[in-house]
Subunit: 592 residues, 2 copies
């Protein structure tokens, strides 16, 4: 490709509306352009990177027996009613009507379509196991698209679905898939991606892992123990809870006047106790539950609503003031103590604390010296708190760290969540009908590209690994203002030769200053840059520069082709070697 | 790929709802499955064929300087308002609202998105010309999806958009693109595809070609002169009109009583004249035109509404009885003669006819001996008739043939149809603002796959050209009922070796009868089939069979790899040679 023909402006200025580095560089480098909120077009450099990522994923999916298929984006609502998700998912799932007023949806994922495709084909035990996958457009009507390609509405995803007869077989395949995922991240240049035990959602009981690239701009929080290696998503992480006030003697319960004192901080200051000695009360309503849910937790901690949802088996929502009053309490002065006809959930952080302060369910009054063992004996304590930085590791009791991460993939053991309601069946060896079980495995292609930039860039642009660079090599022709015929001719010959040797090369043949050319080649993140100038050619040399290391050197003109080939092979070999040694989640994390 | 692991049932029975051979075979061969009306999923064999077609198209698009991009399916309505198509296209364009109640559409084509992407990037004359293309999902809410993949609602299309400064440059690129298209069809195995001058639509003045595969199941009609090679779509084809009654003497005009006689046939029979001597009258209304449009044409001919639309510069619709009456005529007894305040359009077929019969605009009366030159002097005659089988070629005056065809691609010179309303501009050498012009070039991938089947199949299944076969080679292992270890072992080794030599091979390793295996390999259309049986292996031989020719032979076991390699190379060379000699439309067909 000649740079003079490449569509897409590149520029130095940082666009005003880009907060993430990947977003900034994808715009500045002429990779993507916004079409609408969360919807982008890609120019050639991005398309080439995406294609290379896709090809790596395709190879790894084929290597574990995957069969590439294609399922539609526009689907009839009946498919989503079968699985129960038509009602279950709200505004993220776009609904539309076709010309016959038939209700359709834009698929945001393809479990339903995969089951519908497979259930007519895999009807006997001989057909199992198998895995199908596709690279397909999805549409998710995100409330807050952001960060360029990190969170978009329309995107291409590799989604894979495996079908099995036994849990053991699913678990075994899940392990193979986890290894393939590790290889994919290593091959695209981010071997540091972590497999984190995921939130199993309100369905419970299922195993999942999220692949996380640690990055300050990530939306997810990951708890890591630097000491023992414990790692988990915030939604499922637990920490060792050390009581702060368990050695005090129980004092007599006392009602105190606390006029207008509502927040935990105000209460602690007013009554001169640490926040850890205040029992915070949060009131929720929960779908399908008539009683109000009264949650109590240590004053310095936050309720983790994912954990709470798992306890409730439903998604909690904050109760309104009227509901709180109707339950016999007073907003700002609540506690579970003395309330009838509510569901009480206490966090384990409170289990051993003594002499707590909590609401008196009366305007402007709190209780002092509240003790669960005395006031509310029989309370069951559960883990519903957010882990905080410095909390102790549940495994080795060393301090935990909180880290931000971008989710660049996930793998799930779905069990029969879709196959059972959608009545997928096969005949076993005894001619008995059985329901198969399923796993699913996703990678967002555009997000992965952007994440690689987050991980690999400098101020000048992305630093693409050779495996996914839009062009692995560029020729930068530096012409003097007048003339340069010889440099141009020599560049053209080299361009030709590299192409003949199957090297995909970008030739910067433009009439532009050296500064512009270097800046653009760096914005395009070209791993190996060959600089041709009059001065060097007079010495029979071509200068080379590594984008990643900044290392430079010279190579004789007649040695350029083998030099480039060797360099590319060495870089590719490094990436492939990395893929041979990927860490996979330990087996106990994904077996029952 | 081992056949035992391949998802997708194959069967002999012809599905009841398939009328086209390609639809039947795609279902029977386990290639595609319906999801909803006009919406399909593809299994691995189809996905592999589609991928190979895509790769051939990609190579040819890159060879003419195309830059692959990616544009979104879900687009804001504003983009379509800019071009005027939001209102212009009715139910085929699916509309939806996002979560913020913003109006969006599912793109059925990407001219708007292409202009929106290019207009910010190509702002000076130096940026021109360029071509961008993509393989992208489209959704068209067709009224009558049919024929499997021939007419669907959701489909993948290669759509390309070129941008130019001058008409000459566009025409020149159009020619290059026409050659690339010819090469694509040759390489996928249908070199017989014809480039037919297309209907330029109601926009007028633009050049286009439709690529047609002649097939009895096609939806399009193509007029071909077997003598001189004249060929054109029915929408634009003309024929030489030979007057039938031009030598008669003009007789006096006469009003005759024709009670209840309304149709042309009835009139001709009642008055004992040939249908060619009846002037048929058809009444239309036309959008944006107040006057009724009265069309007159020879009684044996049909009005071609595409041609009429071009004359009217609007789409005609049949007038209702009330409108006809209001215009002073009588349904069934109409003619233009004597009507005021109507727009009269007469077909050239009537220009020289004498003593015609036509309506008297009076209940139960017709006119005899109507002569345009006498009754309606000054009438302008235009070509608005359908060409009929046997009409004479407008070039060489030999009889024309009517043929059915499937449109497998099209190329258009769009001019400034999109760039002007969407205000795309660039600065020329004199620093003057200019509007670029555009061409667009489409190929539906799934339809092309189905069309290849229509062209290349027998009763047993598709006969895939080696370039796009799901697998170019298969190993068919025939095991005796008991045993067969040696045959299996030998097959496994051959399978391994072929893969090591980069031959994508399907190994039919199933426990199945030879009949089932041969049937399935034929349904999968595998071009070269290697049969391994105990008897042949004892002789040190492998049997080979060509799917296309039915030719068979034997090759020594140790010669199989070079035999297969040579065979594949020879087949591929044939296809590539075909691509070197493609016919392209003559230059006068696409220059102004």
């Amino acid at each position: 490709m000649k740079c003079s023909q490449l569509l897409g402006k590149r520029y130095k200025e940082v666009p005003s509306d880009t907060k993430l580095k990947s977003h900034e560089l994808l715009i500045r480098g002429g990779y993507i352009r916004p079409v609408f909120s969360g919807v982008f077009s890609c120019l050639l450099p991005a398309r080439k990177v995406l294609q290379k990522i896709e090809e790596i994923i395709r190879e790894e999916m084929n290597a574990i027996g995957g069969q590439e298929v294609e399922m539609p984006l526009v689907q009839p609502k009946e498919l989503w009613e079968e699985s129960g998700r038509y009602q279950g998912i709200e505004r993220e799932l776009v609904r539309l009507k076709d010309r016959n007023a038939h209700d359709m949806v834009l698929a945001m994922t393809h479990e339903e379509a995969a089951v519908a495709l497979a259930r007519t084909e895999a009807t006997t035990y001989k057909d199992y196991p198998f895995m199908i996958y596709q690279f397909a457009k999805k549409f998710r009507d995100e409330a807050r698209p952001r960060g360029g390609l990190i969170r978009v509405r329309e995107f291409t995803m590799k989604d894979a679905y495996s079908f099995h007869r036994t849990v053991e077989d699913l678990e075994n395949y899940y392990g193979q898939c986890a290894r393939a995922y590790g290889r994919i991240y290593a091959r695209v240049g981010v071997p540091e991606v972590l497999a984190i035990q995921g939130d199993n959602g309100i369905m419970g009981g299922k195993v999942s892992h999220e692949y996380m690239l640690l990055s300050p701009c990530g939306e997810d929080t990951i708890i890591i123990c630097p000491h023992c290696g414990y790692q988990a998503n915030k939604e499922v992480a637990s920490s060792d809870c050390i009581p702060k006030h368990d050695r005090e003697n129980e004092m007599p319960l006392e009602k105190v006047h606390t006029p207008g004192v509502k927040t935990i901080q105000e209460v602690a200051r007013f009554l001169n106790v640490p926040m850890t000695q205040v029992a915070k009360t949060v009131l929720y309503r929960s779908v399908g539950e008539e009683k109000l849910v009264v949650v109590m937790i240590r004053g310095d901690l936050e309720v983790n609503e994912s954990k709470l949802a798992k306890v409730l088996k439903a998604i909690p929502e904050f109760a309104g003031d009227a509901e709180i009053t109707a339950a016999g309490s007073v907003p700002g002065f609540s506690s579970a103590y003395g309330l009838d006809n509510v569901r009480i959930i206490a966090d384990k952080s409170l289990e051993k604390e003594k002499n707590l302060v909590t609401g008196a369910n009366e305007q402007d009054y709190h209780l002092k010296n509240f003790n669960f063992s005395r006031e509310m004996p029989g309370t069951i304590f559960q883990d519903i708190a957010n882990v905080q930085e410095g909390d102790l590791c549940p495994v080795c009791h060393q301090p935990l760290t909180l880290n931000r991460g971008i989710e660049v993939g996930n793998i799930f053991q779905l069990g029969d969540k879709y196959t059972r309601p959608m009545q997928m069946r096969y005949m076993d060896e005894q001619n008995q009908e059985q329901t198969p079980i399923m796993g699913c495995y996703g990678i967002g292609i555009g997000r992965l590209m952007a994440s690689v930039i987050e991980a690999k860039h400098d101020d000048k642009g992305p630093i693409w690994p050779v495996s996914i660079a839009p062009w692995p090599v560029s020729i930068i022709t530096l012409c003097p203002k007048n003339g340069g015929d010889e440099v141009n001719k020599c560049s053209g010959e080299l361009y030709q030769k590299l192409q003949e040797n199957h090297v995909d090369v970008l030739w910067d043949d433009r009439v532009a200053t050296p500064g512009e050319k270097f800046a653009d080649n760096d914005l395009l993140g070209i791993p190996l840059q060959l600089v041709l100038s009059e001065r060097n050619l007079e010495k029979g040399q071509v200068e080379w520069k590594e984008r990643g290391t900044g290392q430079k050197g010279f190579v004789p003109v007649d040695q350029v082709i083998p030099f480039v080939q060797n360099w590319l092979e060495a870089e590719n070999t490094k990436l492939l070697k990395g893929a041979e040694t990927v860490k996979v989640p330990p087996k106990e994390e994904y077996t029952h």
